[in-house]
């Protein structure tokens, strides 16, 4: 361990004979057993382990879950009013989203997929900036550096190699930064998922992959996506540990992710975490889920709702009382009201922005096209 981190912390380009001092990371694992996930997903709620958890953290998780649920409801309502082009809800998956954000330090990076607006918001991103992509005024509505959140990625799994590269670069530079990359169960079939895992393991990059297994990729159930015992098992073949966690147990997801992040930060390399959860809403507001699944399944999962199970446990243990619940609800309501109000204002757009950021410096052709649009807009405003 020691030897490896001192090796990789040399500045990039430093002379080094790799044949004489191969980084330990390149040595094949001989015993896969420690890499294998447990047969059952890790659970904390309903076990004695809850007593060890910090009550302040538990309340924080609860408050964020309530906010997240309210955010999902508000964003879905905004699609009905035509304020958002589309919204992929994470109702039922809030525990994964929130834990993802809370497991990271400020200096760490988040690489979200198109569904993970909520993780970005829980990390501190302005809710309106997070929704810009889905409202349609710009592709990425925020400065990725400000909160260390990469652009929400629509092409599936394509952001995962980016997370590996960023984590690797940070380590080369000597920074103890971790990248957390999120992907859906369907996305694990893409080539980029496999390339990213392999690079991460070979480089022992400080990156954590979080798969939200919510049962479906649009209409396709997990059984048609993979024949593996679990998605977490996929880690073993690449030489990294796979962890399976109950994705509706916010405390368990937070714990497993925090362990993986800490391990990565200390030079222990990447981890693949599969959080088993369920997509309660349809794929997006535009999808008709009745075509491919029955209500009974959805109802089973509602009983295992991340908010219901956390609230019950915290109330039983006296960590959460009526006042606490009310405060969380009021806070969420206030957030929703602000979001509604801001989203109901028409965004002010400048069509000339079409040409502003294609290159650092406009080409002659783009200048010409910009002049053409300028003239069209002037004519429009005169008419």
């Amino acid at each position: 361990m020691q030897q490896r981190s001192s090796t990789v912390q040399e500045p990039p380009g430093a002379a080094r004979d790799y044949r004489l001092t191969p980084p330990p990371a390149w040595q094949p694992r001989t015993d896969p057993a420690p890499l294998l996930p447990d047969a059952e997903p890790v659970r904390v709620l309903g076990t004695d382990a809850v007593a060890d958890a910090d009550p302040a953290l538990l309340r924080r998780l609860y408050a964020e879950l309530i906010r997240g649920r309210r955010y999902n409801a508000q964003a879905t309502a905004l699609t009905k009013q035509g304020r958002l082009a589309v919204y992929p809800s994470t109702t039922g998956q809030e525990a994964c989203e929130v834990a993802a954000a809370l497991a990271l330090e400020e200096r760490d990076w988040l690489f979200p997929s198109y569904r993970d607006t909520l993780a970005a918001v829980a990390r501190g991103l302005d809710p309106v900036e997070a929704l810009t992509l889905l409202r349609g005024d710009w592709h990425t509505g925020y400065d990725p550096h400000e909160h260390r959140i990469a652009p929400l990625s629509t092409p599936l799994a394509t952001q995962l190699p980016h997370a590996v590269g960023l984590a690797h670069a940070a380590r080369l530079k000597g920074d103890d930064v971790v990248a957390l990359a999120m992907v859906g169960d369907g996305g694990t079939s893409e080539g980029d998922f496999h390339k990213a895992l392999n690079f991460a393991a070979v480089w022992q990059a400080p990156v954590v992959f979080l798969v939200q297994n919510n049962g479906f990729a649009i209409s396709v159930p997990l059984a048609k996506q993979t024949a593996a015992p679990s998605l977490a098992h996929k880690a073993v073949g690449y030489g990294m540990p796979g962890r399976l966690v109950d994705g509706n147990d916010a405390v368990a997801v937070h714990q497993v992710l925090t362990e993986a992040v800490t391990r990565a930060r200390r030079g222990g390399g990447p981890t693949l975490v599969e959080a088993v959860t369920y997509r309660i809403d349809a794929h997006t507001n535009a999808d008709d889920a009745t075509r491919y699944r029955g209500d009974a399944e959805v109802e089973t999962w509602r009983a295992h709702d991340p908010i219901v199970i956390l609230e019950r446990e915290l109330t039983e243990r006296g960590i959460l009382d009526e006042d606490g619940r009310r405060a969380a609800a009021e806070d969420a309501e206030e957030m929703a009201a602000r979001l509604r109000e801001r989203m109901n204002a028409d965004p002010v757009l400048d069509p000339m922005d079409l040409f502003a950021h294609v290159y650092a410096e406009k080409t002659a052709q783009l200048r010409e096209q910009a002049a053409q649009l300028r003239a069209e807009l002037d004519a429009e405003s005169e008419a």
């Binding site: 082009a85 079939s189 893409e190 080539g191 491919y292 040409f355 294609v358 052709q365 783009l366 069209e376």
Partner: protein, 343 residues
């Protein structure tokens, strides 16, 4: 065309005007019924019937082995289709959206397009890659690309794009019957356009590679295809009021390119504007304009002009109307064809 039968959904649908999506579905259904080697595959094509419902009902009718929900991996889907074609099947692959076909690009360029050539003709690739493409539907990032030029620039691929309901049926039948790979670009904003074409009536199967004059005219030719055809027809009507009698040519097939029909039209009218929503720089119009100039130079009264999308990544939905070539931009170009007056 029986309307008296008891609630048969197909019979009911036939009584109404058909959409392009229905015509495409019907083309696959007929091809699958006639030829057991035709297989449809892709993401969500089975139970869901595709996100645009173009494969609706095929899994039910032909079974999941013939209309298959695959794992979510475009390179895997197309790569597997290559192997299936090697063994005598005719795969029809659906890519969910234009920008999601890019992971499969390597298979398309490195194998699909050149398999016949590298095997000296012994291993053809009779497969179809269906790709919904283009903008105008308010889609978020990565849902509106016009990617035709990448495919056009790859020798060995046919590139086809229907603009009418009738052609959607006829051209897809021809594409599936083709012994060469066809990239079949479906203008997604025309999926719901309707016509009186009846899925019950026998429909013409168009040979790939023939352009068609959609509107005869005498003063200039608009050369276009796919999503821009309705825009050009609208522009032609508007231009008529100003004394321009525009001819509109629908290419239907970008590769092979029907030089004969296009050049015959331009020789008649003496002027041409190429219209498409893909980017202009090194876009399809560059090739088409160069070709017209080479073949019809002495007949031209003005340079061949292009009206295209701007040379920018496809913009977010709230700004796309500024990017897409509309009637006004086409009319502006037509006005600029009065070359003699200017020079």
């Amino acid at each position: 065309m029986t309307t008296h039968t008891t609630a048969r959904p197909a019979a009911k649908a036939a009584a109404k005007p058909a959409t392009m999506a229905q015509a495409l579905q019907r083309a696959m259904r007929d091809a699958m019924a006639e030829d057991p080697t035709v297989h449809v595959m892709g993401e969500d094509v089975g139970t869901l019937g595709g996100v645009f419902r173009v494969t609706d009902g095929l899994a039910k009718e032909f079974g999941e082995d013939r209309c298959t929900d695959t794992p979510l991996a475009e390179a895997g889907i197309l790569g597997a289709a290559v192997g299936m074609a090697m063994y005598g099947l005719r795969p029809v692959v659906e890519m969910q959206f234009d920008a999601f076909a890019y992971p499969a690009f390597e298979q398309l360029v490195s194998h699909v397009s050149r398999m016949r050539n590298r095997t000296r003709g012994t291993m053809p690739m009779p497969l179809v890659v269906r790709i919904p493409y283009g903008g105008g539907i308010g889609g978020v990032e990565h849902h509106s690309d016009s990617s035709e030029i990448y495919y056009m620039a790859t020798p060995g691929l046919h590139v086809v794009t229907p603009a009418t309901v009738e052609d959607a049926y006829g051209l897809l039948r021809a594409a599936i019957a083709s012994d060469d790979p066809v990239v079949f670009l479906e203008p997604k904003r025309l999926y719901w356009s309707k016509s009186d074409w009846s899925p019950e009536a026998p429909a013409a199967v168009e040979p790939i590679g023939k352009a068609v004059v959609r509107r005869p005219g005498t003063s200039a030719t608009l050369v276009t295809y796919g999503p821009s055809l309705p825009v050009c027809l609208e522009a032609a009507e508007a231009a008529a009021a100003e004394g321009w009698d525009l001819e509109v040519v629908d290419l239907r097939s970008l590769v092979p390119f029907d030089e004969e029909t296009v050049c015959a039209s331009v020789r008649r009218t003496g002027r041409a504007v190429v219209v498409h929503e893909s980017t202009g720089f090194a876009g399809p119009g560059a090739e088409i304009a160069a070709r017209i100039t080479e073949r019809c130079f002495h007949h031209l009264e003005a340079p061949v002009l292009r009206v295209a999308g701007f040379d920018i990544p496809y913009p977010p939905p709230m700004l796309e109307r500024h990017h897409l070539p509309g009637v006004d931009r086409i009319l502006d170009a037509v006005a600029r064809l009065q070359w003699e007056a200017q020079s």
